[in-house]
Structures are given as structure tokens and as C-alpha cells.
Amino acid sequence: MVGLKLRYFVLRRLLLLIPTLIGLTLIVFVLTKVGGDQRLIGEYINLHSTIPAVVQAQEVAQRFHLNDPLIVQYFYWLVSLVHGDWGYTRTLVYDGSVLDAISLFFPNTLVLATLSSLLTALIGIPLGVWSAVRKDSVLDQATRVISFAGYAIPTFWLGLVLIIAFGSANVCRCLDIFPISGTVDVSLIGGVNWFIGGISYPSHILMIDSLIHGRIDIFSDSVMHLILPVITLTYGIMASVLRIMRSSMQDTLNQDYIRTARAKGLSENVVINVHARRNALIPVFTLLGYTIASLLGGAVITETVFNYPGIGYWTTQAILNGDQGGIMGATIIFGLAFIFANLIVDIAYGFLDPRIRY
């Protein structure tokens, strides 16, 4: 019976994907239309081709049925999207199809986002638990200051302050330990044929590719390059996790079953680690979706500040270059990442908390 219910829950959740995906694509389609047909046509015109631009433009207009009603246009736009034609991007960092650009830049964003969320969980959860258990202690006060600052310090500014602190040779030589820009030191990649235009091959994740090609020096350098961006992004999402964990743990510690556990003589360690923490984690879990959203948004800013070639950096380049294909592609991929991350969270949540399966 329980298994059946869970299956229904998962099925229901998967079915809910359909309207969400339609909604996402509809929004992006409307935005494309607001941007104007000329921009859409412009993406597809190849100026080096022998076919005149006017003829090419007519072909594009015909392909997307730009003279038909909007709903028909949406349909043909969606069909080309499903077929892998996401348009073209022309920025200084990449010139080519949007989907290719995403496949090159997304792995870097994924690395940044994964490391930051791991770090957030590793620091945020224990710190939140401790500060709730030792309420009003020095540690608790410090935690509160951290989470308060998290709401008030702009992410991009923190990144810049880190750059100043670690990148300035004139203030103090001793701090000059972490590189402040890009993914790897230029001096290391001279003559490397699998690293072109800031992107490594074949996996596009420099940490993995350097190991594949047996370059330990590049690997360690790429790890060093990740440290400041990861700190910046982690900081941006840490505040909400800390705050929720702390208040949720406090609520849990006031529950009857915790009093029962204490009354029957269990050690405080067992009460906190076995009985309380697990239940306190549930609200943190529900807010993961929100955290993922701020993670993806934070990636745009962090990547720009550190010149880190991910989707966010590419987005910024697209803004500066007036490149609509890039902006729309990035919006779709951010939306998809968010929707699917939330799907996984929801399903995992269904497994963890029996009350949620309805």
C-alpha cells in the first residue's frame, strides 16, 4: 500500500512537469516575441553565405511561421526547441549554436554549484544545529551575525573584496595565495591542445580533463582557482540555510518526543543527533528549492566577478553584446536546472517524509 502511494506521488509529480515546462517555454517564447522578430531572424542569418540575407530572412520567417497566429508560432518554435535548435549566440566568448555553448559552459557552472552546495551543507547544517543547541552562546551569536550579514552583503561586492584581499600584491604579499580570475593560470596551458578558448576537452570540466591527460599541476591549479568563487557563492546561500536550520532545530527541541527521549535517560548526544536533527532537517529540505534558485542566480554574479567561464559568465557576455539567443538559451537552461532540481528534491522528500505522500 505504501509502495503504491509512493508510486502515485512520483507519477503525480512527474505529470506536474508538463504544465511547468509549457509555462517556462511559453514565458521564454513571449520574451522572444517582445524582443522582436528581427532579432530572432538576425540570429539565423549567415553573412558569409552566398545566399542573400533577404532570402535567408524569408526562409527563417517561413520556418518559424512568423506570419501566422501566435499560437502557431509558439508551436513551431517549440518543435525546433525540442529538435535541439535553440538558436545562435554571437558573443566574444562563443560564436555558434546556443545548445553547443550550453554544453561547453554548463559543466563549469555545475562544478561551482555542486561544490558550493556541498560546502553549505557541510558547514550550515552542523553550525545551525550547534547554535540551536547552545542557544545564546558565543557560537550562537557568531552564527547569527554570519546569517545576518548574509542578507546584507551583496554577493558581487563580497567577491570583489576577496579579489582585493587576495589579489593585491601592494597591500600584503602574504595573502597572494589564491588566484582571482579564470579557471587556470595562463603559464600552465601553453602548448596544451585540449584547452581551447577557456574550455577544456573532452568533459569540459578542467579538474577531470587535467587528470585524464595526466597533468597534476593543472589539476591543482584549477582547484586553487575554484576556491574564491566557491567561497563567494557558498556565502550567498549559507545565510538562509543557517537561519532555517537553527530555527527548525529550536522548534524540534521543544517537541514532546524530545522531552520523552530525555526523560527516559538517553544521553544528550543521542537525543540531538538521532532524535532531533533528523526531524529538524525536514524544513531545511523543503526550502532547498529556494536555495537552488539563489544558487543559480548567485552563479551569474559570481562567475562574472571571477571571469569563470560558466553559464552565468556567458549570460553577462550576452547582455553586453546584445545577444538575444544567448539570453534566452541561458533562461531556458536555468529554468530547466531549477525545475529538475526541484523535482529531485520533491521526490526525495516523498521518500524521506511519509506525511508528504498524498
Binding site: 517556462l24 521564454v28 524582443g35 546584507a152 551583496p154 570583489l160 593585491s168 530555527s247 539563489s294 539570453i327
Partner: protein
């Protein structure tokens, strides 16, 4: 941050008449005692030292913005509407009292004047964004919550769809198609900012709808629209105001982040904190002050706004204190 110590307890608050404020307002509560209620809220807010400090800073910022508007030379600002570049000396120079207290930034712009002028621009647009978003969201939420049924379902599914894109990339896309200017990105942020308010207001409206005074109004033949505007909206507004004050601290950062990554570059001389930081970006390592001072201007305002928001929430709703 929610647990700022207040020098009174819940019962005392209720005796002070806060029960009136928290519970559903009666019709007569609108006329005479509303002013008293606001004064009471202010009194409670000021009792907490951190909220009082926050409020003082917010007032200071607002005063700077107003002075920029009416008499900028009072605070030493030559031109509140445009930064004054000095191309003969474009490289940032160190802070020197009294000519350039915060130094200069690229291209030869006096940072003190630029920041003072920028406060007006950032505050104005942030306020505009939050208020537009809140108004739109509250309207949608109240409509959905009060009407219920299929309208509720449709409005909330639309809200869900809007919630399915992380707000920053969403705002970037909207701002981009509108034209990459400062007004465009403000409008874009307002377009993505109504979503939370819609959910929030709907929840409140659902609760308010069940109150006896709504039923009484309906029984005495008051129209739905009038009930919604006169009876539901005012009761939803209190938590919305708390959220507005908390959001102002966030939006001022988001706004500056977006201008930093390249929005509003059409008018490079418009004094704006994100643009200022972006101008000085390339000199950040050799001239830290070009990034430090504009960032501090954002930071201090965001902290103050958070303190005020927290204080307001504690004053208006003792139940949410953690």
C-alpha cells in the same frame, strides 16, 4: 536575526491594544484609532535598540535622497543627476581630505559626490520595484484567495509558472528584451518580484475571508469588489508591509548587481552604485576604495533595512518571534 531582544512580553503587548492590530479590524477601527495604532507600532519599534539604529540609518539615507532632489550642494554634490568625469586625470586617486574624502574612481569621478547622488537613484528605483511588485502581487493574491474556485486555481498556477524560473536569470531576460536600460531592468525586477507577494497575500486573504465581519458585510449586501478593497486588502497589508521593508534591503543589492553586470550601461554617467563599482572594477586591486565605498553604501542600507524589517515584524506579529 529574528531573535532581537525586546523589552516587553506578549501579554503586555496585547494589553497595550495590539490585539486590535493583529486581529481583524472592525469598520470603526479605521477612522479614529488607526493613527494611534501606528504610533504604538513606532513606539514598540523604537524600544528595540537595533531597530532604532536601523530606522535612523534609513531616515538618513532618505534624507540624502531628498536633499539630492531639492538642494544637492547642501551635502557638497555638484550635480545630482550626472557624474562629473575628469578625463584629464582619469586614474583613481587615493582619498584625500577634504577635496576627495572617498577618493576618485575611473574616469576621474569624485566618489563621495557620486555615492551621495547615487543613493537617490538606487533608493528611488528600489522603492519603485518593491512597491510595484507588492501591489501587483497583493492584488493577484487577494483576488485568488477571496474569490476562490477556478479563478484561484488559474491565478495560482500562473504564479507557479512564474516561480519556475530563478528570479535573477528571469529578470535578466525580461530586462534584456525591454532594452537594457535602467528603467527596463527596474520594470523587469518588478515583473519577477510580485510572485512571493501573490502567495503571501493569498494565504492571508484565505484566513481573513473566514472572519465574521466579512460574512456580516456580505449579509448586509456589500458588493464583492468593495469587500475585497475595503475589508480584505487592509487586513492583508500589515504582513505585506513587513515583507516590503525586508525586501527593500534585498532589492537594493539585486538592483546594484544587475547594473554591475551591464544593465544601465546606456547612460554611463548616471550616478548608480552598481555602475560605480563596475566602473572601478578594473582598478579594484590597485585602488580598493573604488569598490569599497560604493559597496559599503549598499551594505549599510541593506543592514538597516533588515533591522527595521525585523523590528516591524516583531512589533506587528509577536508570534513570529524566534
Amino acid at each position: 536575526m529574528g531573535s532581537l531582544t525586546l523589552g516587553y512580553d506578549t501579554d503586555e503587548l496585547l494589553n497595550l491594544g495590539l490585539r486590535e492590530l493583529l486581529g481583524a479590524r472592525k469598520n470603526d477601527a479605521f477612522s479614529s484609532s488607526r493613527f494611534q495604532q501606528y504610533r504604538l507600532t513606532l513606539k514598540i519599534l523604537l524600544e528595540s535598540p537595533s531597530s532604532a539604529v536601523g530606522l535612523a540609518i534609513v531616515i538618513l539615507y532618505s534624507a540624502i535622497a531628498v536633499i539630492d532632489f531639492i538642494y544637492p550642494s547642501l551635502i557638497g554634490v555638484q550635480n545630482a543627476y550626472s557624474m562629473v568625469p575628469d578625463f584629464s586625470n582619469p586614474v583613481p586617486t587615493t582619498p584625500t581630505w577634504p577635496t576627495h574624502p572617498f577618493g576618485t574612481t575611473f574616469p576621474g569621478i569624485d566618489l563621495y559626490q557620486a555615492i551621495m547622488a547615487a543613493i537617490r537613484v538606487d533608493l528611488w528605483y528600489s522603492l519603485l520595484i518593491v512597491l510595484t511588485g507588492a501591489a501587483l502581487g497583493t492584488l493577484v493574491g487577494v483576488l485568488a484567495g477571496y474569490a476562490g474556485g477556478s479563478l484561484d486555481e488559474v491565478l495560482m498556477r500562473i504564479t507557479d509558472i512564474f516561480l519556475s524560473i530563478p528570479y535573477l536569470p528571469f529578470a535578466i531576460a525580461v530586462g534584456f528584451v525591454l532594452g537594457r536600460g535602467i528603467e527596463d531592468i527596474s520594470l523587469a525586477l518588478a515583473v519577477v518580484w510580485w510572485r512571493q507577494y501573490a502567495r503571501y497575500a493569498r494565504g492571508q486573504a484565505l484566513a481573513v475571508r473566514e472572519n465574521a465581519f466579512i460574512e456580516a458585510a456580505r449579509a448586509s449586501g456589500v458588493g464583492s469588489l468593495r469587500i475585497m478593497l475595503r475589508h480584505v486588502v487592509p487586513n492583508v497589508l500589515t504582513p505585506v508591509f513587513v515583507q516590503i521593508s525586508l525586501d527593500l534591503g534585498t532589492i537594493v543589492q539585486v538592483f546594484a548587481s544587475l547594473t554591475f553586470i551591464g544593465f544601465a550601461s546606456a547612460n554611463p554617467l548616471l550616478p548608480e552604485l552598481g555602475t560605480l563599482i563596475s566602473d572601478g572594477f578594473q582598478y579594484a586591486v590597485v585602488a580598493p576604495w573604488v569598490v569599497f565605498f560604493p559597496g559599503m553604501a549598499i551594505l549599510i542600507f541593506a543592514i538597516a533595512m533588515n533591522l527595521v524589517g525585523d523590528g516591524l515584524r516583531d512589533a506587528l506579529d509577536p508570534r513570529s518571534r524566534t
